[in-house]
C-alpha cells in the first residue's frame, strides 16, 4: 500500500481491514488476566497516516486535549461523531466488530474513544478494571456504531436533553493503541501495567508503548491495569471501549461489580 493509497483509504467510509492490518498474528495471554497484544498492527503506510493525524491534532488543536480524568495523569481528546481521517478507523463498525470478536464478547455497537497524551514525568495511575457504565443516545443499527456523546447524552452520568432517550451499557472491551511515541527502551516507563489485584503496586506484566502496537482485554471485575509513570518521554495512545448490554453485564458480574464513576 502506498502513502497515497493509505490516504485514500482514510477518506473512505468503510475500512478494508484485510488490507490495512499488517500483522495477523496477535497473541492472547492469560496472565494476570486474559488479554491480547499485537505488534505492527497496521501496514506501515497506514500507521504513518495515523501518526501524522495524531501529531497534527496535538499541534493545531491543543484545546481539544483536556486534563480532567480523575486519578489519571493524562490529557485526553474525545473522538466525536464525524471523526475524519485515518483515526476514523477506531470508531468504525469494522474495527468494533473485530475488537469484540477477538475478546469474545457480544458488543452493542456503542463506542467511546479518546486520544491520550502523558507528558514526560507523568505519575503512575492506580490499578482499575474499566468495568464502568457508559450511556449512549439513540439505538444501534446493524452496520453502524454509536459514539459516546451522541444527542447530548452524557457518557458518564446519562444526563440528556429533554425528549432524548438515554441507554445504559457497560464497558466490554478496552483497547489501547500506542502511536506517535519516541523510540521506547526498557526503563523509560510509560507502559501499561497489568495487575493481579486492586491493591497491588507491582504489575505482573507490562505492555510497553511501542508504536503501532496494541493491548486489548475484556473488561471484567478482575482486569486490573494502570499507567506506569513515564520518566523521560511522552506517552501517546488511543484508548477506546466497545460496550455490552447493561443487563447482561449485571447477570454475569453482579450489579455491585459495575464500578460507578466518582
Amino acid at each position: 500500500m502506498t502513502a497515497g493509497q493509505a490516504t485514500a483509504v482514510a477518506e473512505r467510509s468503510t475500512w478494508p481491514l484485510g488490507d490495512l492490518l499488517d500483522n495477523r498474528r496477535w497473541v492472547r495471554r492469560a496472565e494476570p488476566f486474559a488479554h491480547a497484544v499485537a505488534h505492527d498492527v497496521f501496514v506501515p503506510e497506514f500507521y504513518a497516516e495515523l501518526e501524522r493525524q495524531f501529531i497534527t491534532l496535538m499541534a493545531e488543536h491543543p484545546e481539544a486535549f483536556h486534563r480532567d480524568m480523575k486519578g489519571y495523569d493524562a490529557a485526553g481528546a474525545v473522538l466525536r461523531e464525524g471523526q475524519d481521517g485515518p483515526l476514523g478507523i477506531f470508531v468504525s463498525r469494522e474495527w468494533h466488530d473485530l475488537v469484540a470478536a477477538v475478546a469474545g464478547v457480544a458488543a452493542t455497537g456503542d463506542v467511546s474513544a479518546s486520544l491520550h497524551h502523558h507528558g514526560p514525568g507523568g505519575r503512575s495511575g492506580w490499578p482499575h478494571n474499566d468495568l464502568n457504565p457508559g450511556w449512549f443516545g439513540g439505538q444501534p443499527v446493524d452496520g453502524e456504531i454509536i459514539l459516546a456523546g451522541r444527542d447530548g447524552v452524557s457518557y458518564q452520568t446519562g444526563d440528556h436533553p429533554a425528549g432524548v432517550p438515554a441507554r445504559r451499557t457497560v464497558r466490554a472491551v478496552s483497547v489501547l493503541f500506542y502511536l506517535a511515541n519516541p523510540v521506547w527502551s526498557s526503563g523509560d516507563g510509560g507502559e501499561t501495567g497489568l495487575y493481579r489485584g486492586l491493591r497491588d503496586r507491582q504489575p505482573v506484566a507490562v505492555v510497553p508503548p511501542i508504536n503501532n502496537s496494541l493491548l486489548l482485554f475484556e473488561c471484567t471485575p478482575y482486569s486490573f491495569h494502570g499507567f506506569v509513570g513515564n520518566r523521560v518521554s511522552p506517552r501517546n495512545s488511543l484508548v477506546m471501549w466497545v460496550h455490552r448490554d447493561y443487563d447482561e453485564a449485571v447477570a454475569r458480574w453482579g450489579e455491585d461489580s459495575i464500578v460507578r464513576w466518582s
Binding site: R24, W26, V27, A30, A34, A36, A101, V102, A103, G104
Partner: protein
C-alpha cells in the same frame, strides 16, 4: 477471552510421541530459543523464575484478528510453563511432581537457569557476596534437580531409560575452562567449572541406570554465538545416544567435543 493454547489431555497426560523435556531458565535467550525452535519435537516443561518465555503455552496462544475462531498451526504444540524459584524449599520437588503428573515421564533435563555477577575480585564486596547465589543457582540447583528426577523417575527404569535415550544437558560456559581477561568472571567461571566437573561425576553415577549426562559450553549468547546455535547444541547432545560425560563447546570459531 480464552488465552491458552489447547492440547488434548487424557487421564495419563497429553498424548504425543514427542519426548518430554524439562527445561529450567526458560525465560532466557536459550530457553526461548528452545521453546520456539523445538516445541514440535519435545513436550517442553518450561520453568522460569521471573519472566515467562513468550511462546505458545497454556497461558499464551496466537489468534488471527480477522478470524479469531480459526485454529492456527502455531498453537499445535504449546509448552507447559511453570513459575518457580528453584532455590526455595520444595520448589524442585513441585516442578518434578507437576511434570510427571502431566506427562508421565522426563526424557531430557536441560539445566539452563543461571545466575551471573561479573566483577573484579578486588573491587568491594559485591563479588564475594554474590558467590553463594552463583554457586547455588549454577551448581546446586542443577544437582538437586537431576537428583530429584533420578530419585522420582529414572532410578527404577534402567531399561526404559536406555531405550528412551534419557539424558541431562547442563549448560555451562566456555568460561569454565578459559580466562577472558578484564571481564570479572572469576566466581561465575568457577561455578561453571564446578558444574562441568559435577556433570562428569553425574555421568559416571547415572550410567548405572542408563541416563546420560553431558555439558554444553557456549560462548556468550546472543552476542558471540546465537541462542539458536546453543539450542541446536542441546539437541545434538540429546540426539547422540553414545554421548555421556562429554563437553560440547559452542563458539564462534570452533566446535569441539
Amino acid at each position: 477471552m480464552s488465552a491458552g493454547a489447547e492440547e488434548s489431555v487424557g487421564r495419563s497426560g497429553p498424548s504425543s510421541d514427542r519426548r518430554v523435556c524439562l527445561l529450567t531458565g526458560a525465560g532466557g535467550e536459550l530457553g526461548t530459543a528452545l521453546c520456539q525452535g523445538y516445541a514440535d519435537r519435545y513436550q517442553i516443561v518450561a520453568v522460569y523464575r521471573r519472566r515467562a518465555p513468550q511462546v505458545v503455552s497454556q497461558n499464551e496462544s496466537v489468534v488471527d484478528p480477522l478470524d479469531p475462531a480459526a485454529s492456527r498451526p502455531e498453537n499445535a504444540h504449546p509448552v507447559y510453563t511453570i513459575c518457580a524459584d528453584l532455590e526455595q524449599p520444595g520448589q524442585i520437588e513441585r516442578v518434578v511432581e507437576l511434570t510427571l503428573a502431566r506427562y508421565g515421564a522426563i526424557d531430557l533435563l536441560v539445566n539452563a537457569a543461571a545466575h551471573s555477577v561479573w566483577s573484579p575480585v578486588i573491587d568491594g564486596g559485591e563479588l564475594l557476596a554474590s558467590l553463594p547465589r552463583q554457586f547455588s543457582v549454577n551448581v546446586g540447583v542443577p544437582l538437586a534437580l537431576a537428583t530429584e528426577v533420578a530419585r522420582r523417575f529414572w532410578l527404577p527404569r534402567d531399561r526404559d531409560n536406555r531405550a528412551s535415550n534419557r539424558n541431562v544437558v547442563n549448560v555451562s560456559s566456555v568460561a569454565a575452562a578459559r580466562v577472558f581477561p578484564g571481564r570479572g568472571q572469576s566466581v561465575y567461571a568457577a561455578s561453571k567449572a564446578a558444574l562441568t566437573q559435577l556433570s562428569k561425576h553425574l555421568a559416571s553415577e547415572f550410567a548405572a541406570f542408563g541416563v546420560r549426562v553431558n555439558v554444553l559450553a557456549p560462548n556468550s549468547f546472543p552476542s558471540v554465538v546465537s541462542a539458536d546455535d546453543v539450542a541446536a547444541g542441546v539437541v545434538a547432545l540429546d540426539d547422540d545416544p553414545r554421548a555421556t560425560g562429554r563437553v560440547l563447546t559452542v563458539d564462534a570459531l570452533a566446535e569441539a567435543g
